[in-house]
Amino acid sequence: MIRFDGVTKTYADGTTAVDDLSLTAPTGKITVLVGPSGCGKTTTLRMVNRMIEPTAGTILIDGQDTAAMEPAAMRRGMGYVIQHAGLFPHRTVLDNIGTVPRLLGWDRRRTRERSLDVLERVGLSPDLAGRYPAQLSGGQQQRVGVARALAADPPVMLMDEPFSAVDPVVREQLQDEFLRLQAELGKTILFVTHDIDEAIKLGDQVAVMRVGGHLAQMAPPARLLARPVDDFVADFVGRDRGYRALGFRPTPKLPLRAEPTLVVGESPSDMSGQWCLVVDDRRRPLGWVRPGDLRGPVTVADLNRGGTVAVQGGSLRATLDAALSSPSGRGVIVDPTGALVGTVLAPEVVALVEEDRVTQAEAGSSP
């Protein structure tokens, strides 16, 4: 557990970067610090491992005051992922990852084995072990940065915009891997980002900061979306927060309808029919066809792949999106193995959303 108690940081030039901040990052959870550029996120993070010394207040790690710890030793026990990776250019990927274990006095062999293991955990091929940072893509560098922080298996991780320098597709992938990894490792993580979507996706709880280093609101993501405390948070959280909040509501039991299907190579029996769902041999949906458009048996090229699919029991947001994005108007629902279980219409999902809203409002409780 990391606890900030009335922490203030005023730089030598008089800038107050963090102002009387009190918050707790619980053990085994991801706490995200989010806010506009210059609001003091990095300063907050770097005060934990004393890369920056607070002007006032205390920071406790598992009840112990960090001011009383020896900085270098404390940092070795804490993973730190630096904005833009900050890899050592003269060291190979493997040696970069093995930095902290070597500082802790591990022997070469153990360090090597551990580094290879971590390299694989962050989703990189062992072939990259001998490369130098300049030979990696931005996304690979950021993964190596995460691997380096993980190498000595520290209980606490400090991460400063670790996924900022990559394109949206890679970022999404890094986020998914990060969540999978965290599910395995259960670290206490303080995570900095300026991207509210990333904060909501990754955080067990999210601390929104405003310029001047004030904490505007600290809440689990669903609550942040449903109950922003003021205009600043509401504005920062964004306009489509009502829709995004659905991402945190599970879909109740759906009135599923059976869907007639085709496989590639078949010809539809009813050539006049409207949209028809095509599946593979394990009943996984591939796409939609309109029999009227066909000149023979269905080929892969005929498929309309516009629709998303939702997993049964997933969030209301995914279910609604499946219905809205389907060319046929029928949202595809699959089981966890990806096999088709049925379809659902958008009005039916909207009815569920409304029901969900009413029950919540009546319970008077927050989501």
């Binding site: 900050g86 890899l87 893509s137 591939l286 629709g307």
Partner: protein, 244 residues
Amino acid sequence: MIGAIWTWLTSTSSWSGDDGIPHRLLQHAGYSALVLVVAAAIAVPLGVWIGHSGHGRSLVTVANSLRAVPTLGLLFALTLVLQPHLQGNTAFLLPCVIALVLLAVPPILSGAYAGVEAVDPAARDAAKGVGMRPREVLRHVELPCALPLLMSGLRSAALQVIATATIAAYVGLGGLGRYLVDGIATNDYPRTGGGAVLVALFALVADIVGALVQARVVSPGLTGKGRRLARVDHPTVPSGATAS
């Protein structure tokens, strides 16, 4: 004339005795090595410290303006001032060593300073962030990253020292410069030219050795070889989200 130089270079008398090529070459290498070691002992720690701490940058500027002092004049002045107070070989050697060290210090100092100064602040920050103490930051990050510039400073100093050590013969020292100075004094062009060829060859060999050492000690991650951006492995997009 080329023939005459060749004859001088290949005659057996040029290769024997105290004035023979092996002995003169050894002397020349000896002075150069001594000067470089002394200059490096002064300039490397100083430059590294300036680059590391950011203090005393003006020292680098001062050292660089030293380059404008004509080494020949400095050598003569030091010899005249110091020789009366010294005895034996030192009387010749010390003024030379001082003059040449002053010549070698600026490039080494600038190289060491610029090398450490140019270390990516992110790498330095990361080193601190993973829990390196100041000494470890210096040893594991700043020094290795400074090596390319530090080495080129050392090599450039070595070239200048080898070239300038020839004028030491003018104040009575040995080395390959003897052939140049004595040859000019006696109008013996083959000897002068032969000496010049030898100095040029020696400088070339020394620089090649320097290049080889540099290639060995500098991490490929910091040079062209390691910098080519390798094929970017594009990760596959997770396929669960979109389909159908």
